[in-house]
């Protein structure tokens, strides 16, 4: 089924349909992860792959489509499809050959399941005392990795801001002054449903954030779900209405605060006599309690950073859509 939807994305020419198929593909993926006992990953994939990624792709499509040739694909592609096909087949065959050396699916004795993983599973109950092992590995055992990932997300957010944000717009126009494009405002049904849904989504985001120690969830997923609520509101009510609630500057500030909260927790641990990101030092009398506190703070930092980056990326795409047509008109004359 996965292969079928992926194949469909090769053969469908209409980009809109391809993006929709990609969303379905991600949802199927999420189900697949759940089946493989990875509920945390499934939650992330469902929120991101089926939620945010298609929205961003559609945004790009909306920004790039309007002056297209009516039939851009009518022109024969210069590429010969045969050569890539041969390359792909050879690479695939080599990989299938290599797969015969792989441990079989679900094998307990596979090397991947026998080095650090058993230690995490056996000792995290006494060392960290959090039921969700994924959270404790993410925030404590491999805190450095996660810190790096958060910085990558932060950098990507800054990059999008530099490419599309108002900072690079030299004409000096403030982009939140434009009339909003959302023609959806007039649809009462959408408004009512969104009004019911948004508080529930926000509540769910907080649940996922703070209950991540006990059930699947955590900062990454919560941040994305939180951002989704605001994206829904933007789509229904327009960009202007959102900027009445949160100023863009506030979102940029939150991006930095999220990262600093994570890095700062590490520093505090260092000042209190431990290693960097060693939460045991946060509470000298009860190291386990220190771990809880550290994980809570770090996850909060991740959540804030991810939510702010996702929102700023989406708002930049949406804000671009408002004044790009004018730029093009000026360029065309």
């Amino acid at each position: 089924m996965l292969v079928a939807t992926a194949l469909a994305s090769i053969f469908i020419r209409d980009l809109f349909a391809v993006i929709m198929v990609f969303g379905i593909y991600s949802l199927v993926c999420a189900g697949f992860f759940l089946n493989l006992n990875a509920p945390d990953v499934a939650l992330t994939e469902a929120a991101i792959g089926a939620g945010i990624a298609p929205i961003l792709m559609l945004g790009t499509l909306a920004l790039t489509r309007h002056s297209w040739d009516p039939e851009p694909h009518a022109k024969k592609s210069k590429h010969n499809p045969l050569l890539p096909l041969i390359v792909v087949t050879i690479t695939g065959a080599a990989l299938v050959y290599a797969s015969f050396d792989m441990p079989h699916y679900g094998d307990v004795t596979a090397p991947a399941n026998n080095h650090v993983a058993p230690r995490y599973l056996q000792d995290s109950a006494t060392e960290i005392d959090i039921p969700n092992v994924v959270t404790s590995v993410l925030a404590s055992y491999r805190g450095f990795d996660t810190l790096g990932e958060v910085f990558v997300i932060f950098t990507a957010g800054i990059g999008v801001l530099a490419l599309l944000g108002f900072l690079s717009d030299g004409s000096g126009r403030k982009y939140w002054q434009f009339a909003d494009t959302a023609s959806l405002r007039r649809h009462t049904v959408l408004h009512v449903i969104a009004k019911i849904l948004i508080p529930l989504i926000l509540l769910y985001a907080f649940y996922v954030q703070f209950h991540g120690d006990y059930s699947p969830g955590g900062g990454f997923q919560a941040g994305v779900i939180f951002a989704t609520a605001f994206i829904l509101y933007t789509m229904v009510s327009g960009l202007q209405a959102v900027y009445k609630i949160i100023r863009p500057e506030f979102i940029y500030l939150m991006m930095v605060i999220g990262v600093m909260l994570y890095a700062g927790t590490g520093l505090v641990a260092m000042f209190m006599g431990g290693n960097y990101l060693d939460y045991n030092a946060l509470d000298h009398h009860d190291p386990v309690h220190g771990q809880h506190l550290g994980i809570l703070l770090v996850e909060l930092g991740v959540g804030i950073c991810v939510a702010a980056v996702m929102m700023s990326v989406f708002f930049n795409f949406a804000g671009r859509g408002i004044h790009v047509p004018e730029d093009n008109k000026e360029g065309g004359q």
């Binding site: 996965l2 292969v3 992926a6 994305s9 090769i10 993006i19 990609f22 593909y25 993926c29 992860f33 493989l36 006992n37 990875a38 509920p39 990953v41 991101i48 961003l56 792709m57 790009t60 920004l63 592609s77 590429h79 499809p81 890539p84 096909l85 087949t89 690479t91 695939g92 990989l95 792989m102 079989h104 699916y105 679900g106 094998d107 991947a112 399941n113 993983a117 599973l121 109950a125 969700n132 092992v133 994924v134 590995v137 990795d145 996660t146 997300i153 990507a156 957010g157 999008v160 490419l163 599309l164 006990y214 699947p216 990454f220 997923q221 994305v224 991810v306 996702m310 990326v313 795409f317």
Partner: protein, 118 residues
Amino acid sequence: MSIVLGLFNYWVVIALMMIGFYLVIATSNLIKKIIGLNIFQTSVFILYISIGKVKGGAAPILEEGTELYANPLPHVLILTAIVVGVATTALGLALIVRIKEAYGSINENEIREKGGTT
């Protein structure tokens, strides 16, 4: 038969990976290339999660009375990778938007033609 069942997941991964690879090198539309990259990326996710699967194991949330759990390490790596993936995808899409503004096209061939003249 056990070989086929034991390695089936990897073959699915390889098929997906090759589909993504083909999209990246064979299509000239930049958005489709990004989708190809994403499919490639998901295939790697599935590979990791498949490796972490333990037959008869439960999801890695500690409970009384459960002995066997799936390997939590790949889950951690992949769930952060998914979020990083969407952030970098957003960066790529932002670049496409700027390319469109500079060259008036998101088709690689047309961009090449224009790049030669300007």
